[in-house]
């Protein structure tokens, strides 16, 4: 009689193979979500990133009106792709504040002239300080900020047409 315990190592090995095979077939999620959802924005006061829009400070995002906070940059290719969707959001009543990451005023001005300017304010974040403080790990990202300046939602990556109703919904929930 063969002792059943002889099969235990083989069974463990097959279990390991099964787990590995399962994990390999799962799509890789490279997004790092912010853990600042539900937390208030940090104190900041950023200079204007372009000549025709004011800069951005925490107090601007605490005036009782919920807003989108778009983290973008003129050097960011997916930011071009999401520009029409931001315009669509603005047309449907969203107030969009923005932070330009590591950007020169002339580059921001050229980007806005080429792809449209849906923003009410644009702050310049030259050392990615605000970006790090709100747990954003890249551009573009879009946060929903409620009227008290609390972060309510984070969208990672460029906004697609299908994301527009989701963001409008989150904005309405932040009232």
């Amino acid at each position: 009689m063969i002792r059943w315990t002889l099969w235990v190592p083989l069974a463990l090995f097959l279990l390991f193979c099964g787990v590995a095979a399962y994990q390999l077939t799962q799509p890789k999620d490279e997004f790092i979500a912010s853990t600042m959802i539900g937390q208030p924005l940090p104190e900041f006061d950023l200079r204007a990133a372009s000549a025709d829009r004011p800069g951005l400070a925490t107090r601007d995002l605490r005036d009782g009106q919920p807003r989108l906070l778009n983290v973008f940059a003129s050097w960011c290719i997916p930011c071009i792709a999401e520009a029409p969707q931001l315009e669509a959001l603005r047309r449907q009543g969203a107030d969009i504040a923005a932070v330009a990451i590591r950007d020169k005023p002339e580059d921001v001005a050229r980007f806005l002239a080429n792809y449209g300017n849906p923003y009410s304010r644009i702050g310049a974040d030259d050392l990615s300080e605000l970006q790090l403080a709100i747990g954003s790990s890249g551009v573009p990202e879009t946060f929903v900020i409620d009227g008290q300046g609390v972060i309510r939602y984070q969208h990672i990556g460029d906004i697609r047409a299908s994301d527009v109703p989701v963001l409008l919904q989150k904005l309405a929930e932040a009232k």
Binding site: I32, T35, W75, K104, L127, S128, E129, Q131, G135
Partner: protein, 140 residues
């Protein structure tokens, strides 16, 4: 000889492909402390130790000490300027973990999700010791 030529060709293709995203880089100069060390060697050593255990968010297999991504440079600037202001390395790590989760830190911690990583090896060693002990006792 042929092999090394092939390898070289493959490397050049890879490097050319890797260079494409570099077009999507900003034109700003690096942050003051991205590539400059702190004047105080003791503080710099503290900063260096911490930077080697913080994960680059743009290039997730590298520490911020190893990465040339602009965002990693800005993170090094954060680390060095905070250390220069007298902040403790672990406080800076905690600040980042509060924003990005455990993901940002390479330093292993025992938590609700990671405890099996620490417990399983101990259990296996214990199991091996028991088996060994029983065998040796049976033999003698």
């Amino acid at each position: 000889m042929m092999l090394s030529k092939c390898l070289f060709a493959a490397m050049s293709v890879f490097l050319a492909a890797a260079a494409i995203p570099a077009l999507a880089q900003d034109s700003m100069p690096p942050a003051p402390y991205a590539y400059n060390q702190l004047a105080d060697p003791e503080q710099e050593a503290k900063a260096q130790d911490l930077m080697e255990t913080l994960r680059c968010l743009k290039c997730q297999s590298q520490s911020i000490a190893d990465s040339d991504a602009p965002m990693a440079g800005d993170m090094r600037h954060q680390v060095r300027s905070r250390i220069a202001q007298g902040e403790e390395p672990e406080a800076i790590r905690a600040w980042l973990v509060a924003r990005y989760g455990d993901y940002v830190s390479y330093a292993p911690t025992v938590s609700e999700t990671t405890w099996p990583l620490f417990a399983v090896p101990l259990l296996l060693v214990l199991l091996a010791a028991i088996i060994l002990w029983r065998r040796l006792r049976a033999r003698s």
